[in-house]
Subunit: 343 residues, 2 copies
């Protein structure tokens, strides 16, 4: 186990980033496809090809989940990923045409630094996301970077640099579950002004520093901090959970809904009006059926744990962007190499 | 009144097409934005940025609706349209960034002829849809072509060439309503083997030939014909209705649901498992509120009529593609210049 979503057999993940624009994309590819669902709990989502995931829709399997920065501009990324999927022979066949399905969600990183030249000169400069989606799909493998990488490249939380996180686990029935998340939260992943993560209770080993849960909650613990005070701002945490269990589309939607609870436990606040928080759930169906409780209940609980852990890992691994006024990273604020003067 | 959706003040429409690839895109731009909703009644939809249209989501206004061919590849078109919207200063402002919203639905025209080189050589040839979306948005004006144009360029029905259609009307309260549709139906717009349209009862003047309703239904009227016999095939009819009334997002969703009834009346069958049938509804909110019945009921009924008429107009105006085995157009089969030997 690598403690990545790629521990789920048949799931590969690739990142691509544009350092100048300070943004990126992450693509999860399912070898042989996956049954999938989505639960969109943020109030300002941006998505592509998600209508077909609803249980009353016919399409049975998808081939990739794309997470990217760029807000609505980022929705080009699934196009680039789709070209790679076509080249790789992915997808179902319709009238002799092989048509892979890449579904996508985006996060808002347009104001986190970097040169967004397509906003200044929209008829001369094309947004980089189609190429980022293509390159991330081309890079898909069993190993990928966490932190300031892929869709997490330009991501932030209200107080610390956000990033890309992942984690995995096995259920009591032997199913593998993995989580992948780009943390660009409206709120905080850490408790008050301290170094502890809200997800501390769920930590496995020292996967995000080993501080665990604080012995005593700081007085600042419940002080509410979020992006957009005083002016409204947009954020968004987007995620995927995957399992090798065999699930139907309705069960995948149930899994996506339960997995959102991992966001609730690791971020405060989350699922806000200007968030586009979206969680995809994908079942590669290589293992036994887990369609009913208690198997599906356990999958959902473990998926939520994986996402909570992945969120903390993404923030813990992130490095600040090299811009003036960039949000500091967890290591700068709380790590061994922190500058003096910081707690 | 031009009998086009652009009779609704503030709505402009542009087409772009790629004759070699036999596909295209149509973009409706809302000057000053529009409140919008969507109702997706087909079983295999492809869409972009539609999650934000749901009534529980925050985004209040959109700037454009994009209809295009290309199935899931076509979803790049909203990206190109968005660049034009940025250049034109459209969209709300978030953290100093002007962010226009272009929502999109696609239809499946990949097997209707034309050179889809990006399917053969996906790493060398990029799909043309980003450029088609850009060019259609650049072409947006009060007048636009119907028939084999824009998103209707590669469209077909089971027995006749499909195409782009539009129609408009005024309600008793003085609201203007317009419909825009790309007819790529799984079924037929005409009754049995004859020239009459199912939408004949709703015809205004001679907007689609003036044949009206047949005096006597032909014996073939209810013979069921649809694409995908014996092998499954995909189709899709995608549409927009717009009004100058002031509506909330929930009322726009209600309008989109009622407008789907225009598809039901003009096409048989429709809303099928392999259809992606999607209807957007947009309110420019330049007129009085029409939030409640009976005003909203009348808007919905008139919007459905407009879409039924627009469907017949789109088929009536279409010209067959210049490919061997291309589906014939209505004029060839039933028009004044039809070859002898055809009815």
């Amino acid at each position: 186990m690598k403690n990545l979503i790629t521990d789920v057999p048949g799931v590969r993940v690739g990142n691509a980033q544009d350092a100048r624009a300070a943004t990126g994309a992450t693509v999860a590819v399912f070898e042989g496809g996956a049954v999938a669902g989505v639960a969109t709990l943020g109030g300002a989502p941006g998505s592509r090809a998600v209508s077909l995931l609803e249980p009353e829709m016919m399409r049975g399997r998808i081939d990739a989940v794309v997470l990217s920065g760029g807000s609505l501009f980022g929705l080009d990324a699934a196009g680039g990923a789709t070209s790679v999927l076509v080249a790789g022979g992915h997808g179902g066949t319709f009238g002799g045409i092989t048509l892979p399905v890449a579904v996508q969600a985006i996060l808002f990183d347009l104001t986190n630094g970097g040169e967004k030249d397509w906003l200044r000169a929209p008829m001369e400069c094309r947004p980089p996301y189609w190429e980022l989606g293509r390159d991330a799909a081309l890079a898909a493998s069993d190993a990928f970077a966490l932190g300031t990488a892929g869709a997490g490249y330009g991501a932030t939380t209200v107080n610390l640099k956000g990033g890309l996180g992942s984690a995995s686990a096995r259920t009591s029935q032997g199913f593998t579950v993995g989580g992948l998340v780009a943390v660009n939260a409206v709120g905080a992943a850490t408790i008050g002004d301290g170094p502890h993560f809200w997800a501390g209770a769920y930590e496995q080993g020292q996967e995000f520093g080993g501080l665990g849960w604080p012995a005593r909650l700081p007085a600042s613990a419940l002080g509410l901090r979020f992006k957009g005070l005083p002016a409204p701002a947009t954020a968004t945490t987007i995620a995927l959970v995957a399992t090798d269990a065999t699930l139907s589309k309705p069960a995948c939607k149930r899994l996506a809904i339960m997995a959102n609870d991992g966001l609730a436990r690791a971020l405060r606040p989350v699922h806000a009006p200007n968030d586009g928080d979206t969680v995809f759930a994908a079942a590669t169906c290589r293992g036994a059926a887990a369609e009913e409780p208690p198997a599906l209940t356990e999958l959902g609980a473990v998926a939520a744990d994986c996402l909570a852990r992945a969120i903390a890992r993404g923030v813990h691994a992130a490095t600040a962007l090299p811009f003036a006024n960039a949000v500091p990273d967890w290591q700068q604020r709380f790590g061994a190499g922190r500058p003096s003067g910081l707690p």
